[in-house]
């Protein structure tokens, strides 16, 4: 079955709702409209207004009400319409959702999935192209994942909904229209990273929207690039990363989010700690710059490109 990324999430949500009557969807414009990206298209028609709720326009309440639903035994899946709109809900996510298991010593679980269309590259206005993942990765108690392709989108949303932990589910919106084959089985756990393309010379770490960029770079590179799709950002699955780095000795991390204290910083620290004697060069980072997201006419100079990835790969060879 070949589907677009957006339709793959839709199919995954549908399957999860069929599997478990406690799965409910909440969000702005997700019902009759089917979501601004049509990810929930048709679900309200088939599952009813009680299970697919068009909510009042209030993000903190979308997440806060989900806490109450989870207390009652439901598994809420919420849609935050755009990445920049998550901040009004940030307090409920960080102060409530993430810590209730810990506070209650395991008696309260918060199986809430917060879906966020994230990242740039679609020519959007301000607050519609953000990459806030690091702000959730640094919050203990949250699982943070970012699928990069339709197969993972379909299976990871189902795994996220089945998880008893709260999951921040980042959907790379510039990849919503990419199509791909959906396999009959997930083939891999939610909490695992995966080698997307094997190579010998340089390890390239990516997730979400930048996986495709890095695979294209691997096609063009003179060096043999091993591209790892991280998939899970918290908890990190470092084993495939460290195995690869021990073999190549060279690493490039690629993400759209700003550089300072981004995921690349954590990866560089962990790789240095674990693979110091294997490293032939410092860890290179290709990221968005440390500015607010720029006007979209210049966003392609802000976002990691194939050229910038290749340049960083070349830089690892200079040591």
């Amino acid at each position: 079955m070949e589907l677009s990324f957006a339709k793959a999430v839709n199919a995954g949500l549908r399957a999860a709702m069929e599997d478990d009557p406690k799965v409910v969807l909440l969000g702005e414009d997700i019902g009759r409209l089917g979501g601004v990206f049509r990810v929930t298209d048709g679900l309200q028609k088939d599952f009813g207004e009680q299970r697919v709720m068009d909510t009042p326009l209030a993000e903190s309440a979308i997440v806060g009400a989900s806490v109450g639903l989870a207390y009652r035994g439901f598994r809420p899946v919420v849609e935050i319409q755009f990445d920049g709109f998550v901040y009004p809900a940030y307090d409920q996510i960080v102060n409530q959702v993430a810590r209730l298991r810990f506070r209650s010593e395991g008696t309260v679980t918060m199986p809430i999935v917060v879906r966020i269309p994230y990242g740039g590259g679609i020519g959007a206005v301000e607050h519609h192209s953000e990459s806030p993942e690091a702000q959730f990765v640094m919050t203990p108690g949250l699982t943070v994942v970012a699928p990069s392709n339709p197969h993972d989108a379909f299976w990871m949303i189902r795994q996220a909904i089945a998880s008893d932990d709260p999951v921040i589910f980042l959907e790379p919106k510039q990849r919503y229209w990419d199509t791909g084959e959906i396999g009959d089985e997930a083939g891999i756990d939610l909490h695992r990273s995966r080698v997307a393309r094997e190579g010998d010379d340089v390890t390239v770490l990516a997730y979400g929207p930048t996986v495709k960029t890095c695979l294209e770079a691997a096609d063009e590179a003179e060096e043999s690039l091993e591209v790892i799709d991280l998939r899970t950002l918290s908890p990190l699955d470092l084993d495939p990363v460290l195995d690869s780095v021990r073999s190549t000795g060279r690493v490039v991390v690629v993400h759209e989010a700003s550089r300072t204290l981004g995921i690349g910083a954590e990866l560089a620290a962990r790789i240095t700690q674990e693979c110091f004697y294997s490293l032939e060069a410092p860890v290179q980072r290709v990221t968005g710059y440390d500015t607010p997201y720029p006007p979209c006419r210049v966003e392609h100079d802000h976002l990691p490109s194939v050229e910038r990835v290749l340049d960083a790969v070349a830089a690892t060879g200079e040591f």
């Binding site: 009042p56 309440a61 806060g64 009400a65 989870a70 298991r101 909490h191």
Partner: protein, 344 residues
């Protein structure tokens, strides 16, 4: 301006409107309020003796908490703030379990599902949204039950609380918003939060708001019972403003003499919620003196239990707490747990 204040029992102990409580009911309220006050004064003393890092006193708010707490059905679910020790008492939580949060031995202390009493929200107003979500869940299940959110006058300025009002109205959720208007948000008086009575705000959101004398346990029980009944029967949310007074400090770290006129506290002392019910019972219940002696003895035993339990609360094992961050402990936390153990 606006809404009248419901009252059944006047400060002088005179009944000013009808009720159908039995003598046993009245004695029960008296017992609960005396014990709630004892929980509070004991915990306050424990803090002063250095056994607790902090305490948030309920002194003066016993009628608001017991009157509403005793109106709840076992199946109703409470989303409290951190001052609702009297409501916790009504839900059958051992008061010693309330101390862990303030002694620093726990961030919770009980299983919310067992007592149908959530862990207290410390972020002001956050729990109002949880109550609404829970109420929506009840509606989805078709259950005749209700959620109740407790918060103070300060919380009515929070965005979350106002979003909760919008949502509760929109979904006609079976939720009672129980605001204890104790006149102060730490040091800031009510006038800074609102220009109109808090209960009057409900009309703007599209549901009923009622004001009640929060120091009148009978009236509080009556209005809360009615609001809960309405919620369970599909009548939607109610905002109850229980007008009361925080006779003590915000917490033991606070100093109300910096911002309150002592004259004001004296005036409210005359409206003490325990005093007025005592006046009624002394006048109307021939066996009250004997009953009261039993209650005082029970309060003494409760105080002893609290002192004993407090000192025996075990420090948590930091490494053990790592089990509760995620459903399964991830590899990095396993490694960090070993680090903790290597130091202890």
């Amino acid at each position: 301006m606006g809404l009248p204040i419901s009252r059944t029992l006047a400060p002088d102990g005179e009944l000013v409107s009808a009720h159908d409580f039995t003598v046993e009911d009245l004695r029960g309220f008296h017992r609960d309020m005396v014990l709630a006050r004892r929980i509070d004064t004991e915990a306050y003393a424990l803090q002063r003796h250095g056994e607790l890092g902090l305490w948030a006193p309920l002194l003066g708010q016993e009628a608001a908490q017991i009157g509403s707490g005793r109106a709840l059905d076992p199946d109703d679910f409470v989303f409290p703030s951190y001052r609702e020790h009297g409501v916790a008492w009504c839900r059958g939580i051992d008061p010693a379990k309330l101390l862990g949060l303030f002694r620093g031995t726990s961030l919770g202390g009980w299983d919310p599902a067992e007592h149908r009493y959530a862990l207290p929200a410390i972020i002001i107003g956050a729990q109002t949204l949880h109550a609404v979500g829970y109420g929506i869940g009840l509606t989805l299940e078709g259950r005749e039950s209700a959620a109740i959110a407790y918060f103070g006058d300060g919380a009515t300025s929070q965005g979350d609380t106002n979003e909760a009002f919008v949502w509760a109205a929109s979904y006609n959720a079976p939720v009672v918003f129980f605001c204890q208007n104790n006149q102060y948000a730490i040091s800031v008086p009510l006038e800074r939060q609102t220009r109109i009575p808090i209960a009057q705000r409900a009309a703007g959101f599209g549901f009923e708001g009622v004001r009640v004398d929060g120091n009148d346990v009978l009236a509080v029980h009556q209005v809360t019972s009615e609001a809960l009944r309405k919620a369970r029967e599909g009548g939607g949310p109610t905002l109850i403003e229980a007008v009361t007074y925080r006779m003590g400090a915000h917490t033991t770290s606070d100093d109300p003499t910096r911002y309150r006129d002592p004259h004001e506290a004296e005036q409210w002392a005359e409206r003490d919620p325990l005093l007025r019910l005592r006046r009624l019972l002394e006048r109307t219940d021939p066996q009250f003196e004997e009953f009261d002696a039993q209650v005082q003895a029970e309060a003494d035993r409760l105080g002893e239990h609290l002192r004993e339990s407090c000192r025996n609360l075990p420090d948590p094992d930091l490494a053990e707490l790592f089990r509760h961050v995620y459903a399964d402990v991830p590899p990095e936390l396993v490694a960090q747990r070993e680090e903790v153990r290597s130091w202890s």
